[in-house]
């Protein structure tokens, strides 16, 4: 592999590239799915390489799925030509923040390789869940998925880094969709949108209590059909981790991406209200809000040894005691935030896309509340669980989220079930209204597997750890 990588680096150097890197990636993906008893199994190999060069102070990138020496040479020459064309309308030459060079192998730990678990065993598990979910005729769709993803990557840079990494992800999940002809409802487990994913082996799936939670999931989905609509108004609301994770993602993660702050996403995903004068000054949240970026955390989907800039993984505060502190950065843009070193957030969707700033794992640190104490302290409030829909403006200020289920809090416990709960607000007001966070017993890492950004579009995965948290006077219910 080193020889193949060197073809790109020497070709680029001969064409006067001042920097070059190549990432060769072999992905293997297996999805074992079932819908209403019908199996759907797919096995995919996604192999290729991408070459990135700086020529005349500008980036050029080209990629190919044909991993062969002649194609590496051809693709590198294309990247050089693309960079030359870009340089014609480049305002300032690219400046890369300094980083030591690394020669290393790094891999996510696991106990049981999910690719070694036979497909028929996986289908047997899904079949058992399917039977439980469809025991009630109100369930019109029962879907389940077991997912395995191995990403084997090699990265070589003209500065001397040569890094081999193997990232292994496992995922599982199911949902029951119910209907009475007029209303559609859904409950999912462990989280919404198909599956919960982590960097781990099949041991995660075995420990996920999938069978144990199937009947409850089904019964709640059925109960939602006759539940009243969530009331509208201002309510103290406990947001469970299965919803709060996406709130962190949308209202803290994206506005923290420095490329958005600088307007690089102005035409597509959008910009950010956290302008470069805000770090160290913006009271983003209340004093109990501590949000940490961490690409070293166990089981995170954005957990790696090195990012796609060959920068070593890091952990740092984005928000500390409510005060906004640091962005997600890469080597190219770090200096715009007054920083000398990248925070290691440059990531690409596979081999075919150019790396760009993506949020890494971003988690709300646990507080000190016991869950039952928090319920008891929130009389008359609501509990909301599991994200169902999301929407936020392009500056990441005004948001609205929908959840699968909500409960009133009565006599210190979860009471009446409500359907179609939503809440909306503005980011800074929202996080400043947070006054209680449950302790680490209730803290859980939630994976996001469908984060879209960039043109051409790229998908990225990351994890948001959090525990149930209370927000005072939240606007709940569908405003009309």
């Amino acid at each position: 592999m080193k020889k193949l990588c060197n073809i790109a680096l020497t070709t680029a150097k001969a064409k006067r590239a001042t920097y070059a890197d190549i990432r060769v990636i072999f992905n293997t993906v297996e999805d074992v799915s079932m819908k209403n008893g019908r199996p759907d199994v797919s096995y995919r190999e996604i192999n290729g390489f991408g070459v990135r060069v700086i020529v005349n102070g500008a980036w050029g990138f080209s990629s190919s799925s044909k991993v062969a020496p002649a194609q590496v040479r051809k693709t590198t020459l294309e990247a050089v030509e693309i960079a030359r064309q870009a340089a014609k309308f480049q305002r300032k030459p690219i400046r890369l923040a300094k980083e030591p060079t690394y020669v290393d192998f790094w891999a996510t730990p696991y106990i049981e390789d999910p690719f070694d678990v036979p497909v028929d065993e996986k289908l047997g598990l899904l079949s058992e869940i399917d039977k439980i979910l469809r025991r009630n005729k109100k369930v019109i769709n029962a879907t389940g998925n077991l997912h395995a993803w191995r990403e084997h990557q090699w990265m070589a840079t003209s500065e001397g880094s040569f890094i081999e990494q193997i990232l292994l992800r496992s995922g599982c999940g199911y949902s029951a969709e119910t209907s009475n002809g007029k209303i559609l409802q859904k409950r999912s487990y462990p989280c919404a949108f198909g599956r919960q994913c982590v960097t781990a082996g099949y041991e995660y799936v075995r420990a996920a209590k999938l069978i144990e939670n199937a009947a409850r999931t089904r019964d709640e989905a059925v109960a939602l059909l006759t539940a009243p609509v969530c009331p509208s108004g201002k309510r103290d609301t406990i947001i469970e981790g299965s919803m709060l994770a996406l709130q962190i993602h949308e209202s803290c993660g994206h506005p923290t991406e420095l490329d958005r702050v600088l307007g690089h996403e102005a035409n597509y995903a959008g910009r950010s209200f956290i302008t470069t004068d805000k770090p160290g000054k913006l009271k983003y949240g209340s004093d109990v809000v501590n949000i940490v970026a961490d690409s070293t955390m166990p089981m995170g989907l954005a957990t790696f040894g090195y990012d796609d800039d060959a920068v070593r993984a890091q952990r740092y505060y984005v928000v500390e005691n409510g005060l906004y502190k640091h962005y997600f950065t890469n080597r190219d843009l770090a200096h715009h935030a007054g920083e000398k070193r990248s925070r290691g957030c440059n990531r690409a969707h596979g081999y075919s896309k150019i790396p760009m700033i993506r949020m890494i794992n971003l988690s709300l640190l646990p507080g000190d509340w016991e869950y039952d104490d928090l319920l008891a302290d929130t009389e008359g409030g609501l509990v909301m669980e599991m994200n169902k829909s999301w929407s936020i403006d392009q500056m990441r200020i005004n948001f609205q989220f929908g959840c699968e289920a909500a409960w009133e809090i009565k006599n210190g416990k979860k009471g009446k079930l409500y359907r179609d709960p939503t809440y909306q607000g503005k980011t800074v007001e929202f996080w400043n209204s947070c006054d209680a966070i449950c302790n680490n017993k209730y803290w859980h890492p939630w994976g996001v597997v469908n984060c879209g950004k960039g043109q051409p579009g790229q998908t990225a995965e990351m994890t948001h750890g959090c525990a149930p948290s209370r927000f005072r006077n939240l606007q709940v219910g569908i405003a009309r």
């Binding site: 797919s42 305002r91 102005a266 500056m395 929908g402 939503t422 009309r480």
Partner: protein
């Protein structure tokens, strides 16, 4: 990859397999995209991806495997993986036999120049955008892109179909310190992108959006430009017009066949053969893609169907299916709204009080059965009074049922555009004037 090379791969794989019946699907995609921001090119990329998917069937057992590597060793591995999976799965009684050759319409999908255009041309076009922005002291961001895609499907029932299409597109945001204006265009023929018009429209909207005023949330008459209309229709396509959703009674139109469901001014078809569309003449099962009337003068006619759902629902397949085993249904990806007779200017001139919306952002479903959705306005939102644009307004969140919005249509524009939104689209639509469109909250810009 050329069609002949695809055919050769198909023949090899179908010969190698031990499965009694099998199918091969091949795709080849090349895209160049130049991205700019802050009046500078920030990203300039090219991608070349080939891929093959092999589906093996042993009776009612089916399995698929795919790879982006198309050398013989990889192709043999893909065949063997698909067979391994197929042998392991439970029998699926809903599977249908693979489809043989059918008659397919020819379509204008491919323009050589679009496929062959390189980074030099894209850089020159982007140069025009940046120059125009600087001349008006604006900051610009956007893309200029060209791509070519070819697919082929072959199976043991004798099917071999192939199709290629090209696409070029640009989208441009122009910004002042407190405003933004956006415009876009796309076509299979790169020479038919009116770059100057797109630049001028984005500049005009940005300049007119300067110093926006806040207005109160509530119900307003709106004029939605085509990109905003396309956004609404995307959710209708997903949740309303998929034959499987109709069959499973998940659709907002389930049980509403031949009933008036939207305003009689609306006629909606799915027509891959429309001159402004860029679809393909068959679906992923090899069925010829038909032009389908979905809504005619406000009456719901029917959705689109894959073969499996059509059989269950006692309908005819329309050529909008996915590969088997398809548990997802069918998608009308080439929708066209029949135009009205008013220009956008005439629509604005006829509006007493209301809001002109350029595009929506980050829209999502709240209630899948009623198809209530929410999203934000973006990059050019204006207050219209007594037939004139009076002033720009700060962006607002809308919360609105799509069928209800289409019931409240008051005018349909005459100028069609192939328009998309953040999460997809590619629908050929005119601007629409809609009464009582609900805005539920505002934002700070």
């Amino acid at each position: 990859m050329k069609a002949k090379a695809m055919q050769a791969i198909c023949k090899k794989m179908l010969k190698w397999t031990s499965a009694p019946t099998a199918e091969v699907r091949i795709h080849s995609f090349r895209q160049g995209l130049t991205r700019f921001a802050d009046n500078s090119i920030t990203q300039n990329v090219q991608e070349l991806t080939d891929g093959v998917t092999f589906t093996a069937r042993f009776g009612n057992r089916i399995g698929s495997a795919s790879s982006t590597s198309v050398d013989d060793a990889s192709l043999k591995r893909v065949v063997s993986e698909a067979e391994r999976v197929a042998r392991a799965v439970n029998p699926d009684k809903d599977l249908l036999p693979f489809l043989g050759m059918k008659k397919y319409k020819k379509m204008l999908g491919f323009v050589r120049k679009t496929a062959d255009t390189g980074p030099d041309f894209r850089a020159r076009q982007v140069g025009k955008v940046i120059k125009a922005a600087k001349a008006k002291r604006l900051t610009t961001a956007g893309i200029y892109s060209n791509s070519v895609a070819r697919i082929a499907i072959a199976n043991t029932a004798g099917l071999f179909v192939t199709h290629a299409n090209s696409n070029a597109s640009t989208s441009i945001t122009m910004m002042t310190k407190d405003s933004a204006g956006w415009a876009s265009d796309g076509h299979r023929d790169i020479d038919k992108i009116p770059i100057k018009n797109v630049i001028d429209t984005a500049i005009d909207k940005a300049l007119k959006s300067h110093k926006p005023k806040a207005i109160k949330p509530g119900k307003y008459t709106v004029i939605l430009e085509p990109d905003a209309v396309s956004n609404l229709l995307l959710f209708l396509a997903w949740g309303g017009l998929n034959g499987l959703a109709l069959y499973e009674k998940r659709s907002c139109f389930s049980g509403m066949q031949n009933k008036l469901v939207v305003n009689p001014k609306i006629t909606l078809t799915d027509d891959a053969y429309h001159p402004l569309q860029n679809g393909m003449p068959f679906d992923w099962e090899g069925m010829p893609r038909q032009a389908v009337t979905l809504i005619e003068k406000g009456r719901f006619i029917d959705g689109v169907y894959d073969r499996g759902t059509a059989k269950k629902a006692k309908k005819k397949p329309t050529g909008h299916g996915q590969p088997q085993p398809n548990t997802w249904g069918a998608f009308p990806g080439n929708m066209v709204v029949e135009p009205g007779d008013a220009t956008l200017d005439e629509m604005i001139a006829s509006l007493d009080r209301g809001i002109l919306v350029t595009q929506f952002h980050y829209t999502n479903i709240i209630n899948p059965k009623k198809l209530d959705i929410t999203g934000m306005t973006r990059s050019g939102t204006f207050w219209v009074e007594k037939g004139k644009i009076k002033y720009p307004i700060k962006n607002m969140r809308f919360t609105q049922g799509v069928p209800l919005a289409l019931r409240n249509v008051r005018m349909v524009g005459k100028d069609l555009k192939n328009a998309s939104s953040l999460f997809g689209g590619g629908f050929v639509v005119p601007p629409l004037m809609i009464k009582d469109f609900t805005f539920s909250s505002g934002t700070d810009f």
